[in-house]
Symmetry: C2
Amino acid sequence: MSSTDELTIDLEAALKALASDRRLQILDWLKDPAANFPPQEHGDPVEHGACNQYIVEKLGVSQPAGSRHLKVLVDADLAIATRRKGWVYYRRNEPAIDAVVRAMSQI
Amino acid sequence: MSSTDELTIDLEAALKALASDRRLQILDWLKDPAANFPPQEHGDPVEHGACNQYIVEKLGVSQPAGSRHLKVLVDADLAIATRRKGWVYYRRNEPAIDAVVRAMSQI
DNA sequence: TAGCCATATAACGTATTAGCTATATAGCTA
DNA sequence: TAGCTATATAGCTAATACGTTATATGGCTA
């Protein structure tokens, strides 16, 4: 594998996942979890992201609705979930997001 | 207006329009209409793009289905329609597409 | 003007998406 | 192990998307 290898992405699937104000908002918040969410007892915001609960609350939707948005992002490989001490933390998958941006530049 | 002005775009709307293999394919074909479609009697491929009919045929869907895909692209401002001698020609809206790509780079 | 051809719209069926409430699961914690 | 809390799934409704066929529109052309 050389440094020029790019992740293979499913552009249509990624765009479907991104074509939602709610999910764009989540990804934006996750650029800086420490600034956008309350302090967390467990799970470093920078390393692991923000917990499901905080994201749901900030979105202002029901817990299942928020949970599903996060699942869409994870399924599209745009976010990564980390389970830790009973909470699930979500963070951006930067390499995959970069790959989508690169693919977009050739559209 | 300075040269640094950017088009204001509705990113969610643009991504919804792009989140379709069929429409990504259309935009790709329209990068080079002369190479991707048969010769046209009227309407310069480079200037005006390809006519509805050729796009529909190449997509392999019914005429109304193709027509609606094109309408989605036009409504999202990603394509431009030109009516001429009874045909409608479609071409890419490069400035708008560029604006989407720029917006995406900040996602 | 009359007819014709390209394109758009209407109407309909099916699949997907997004919200909700209710419930199940997972896994700490005591 | 038992209970509790966080998260995920199930089941429902409403809205949206995409395909079809049938029909309407628009505007050349003769």
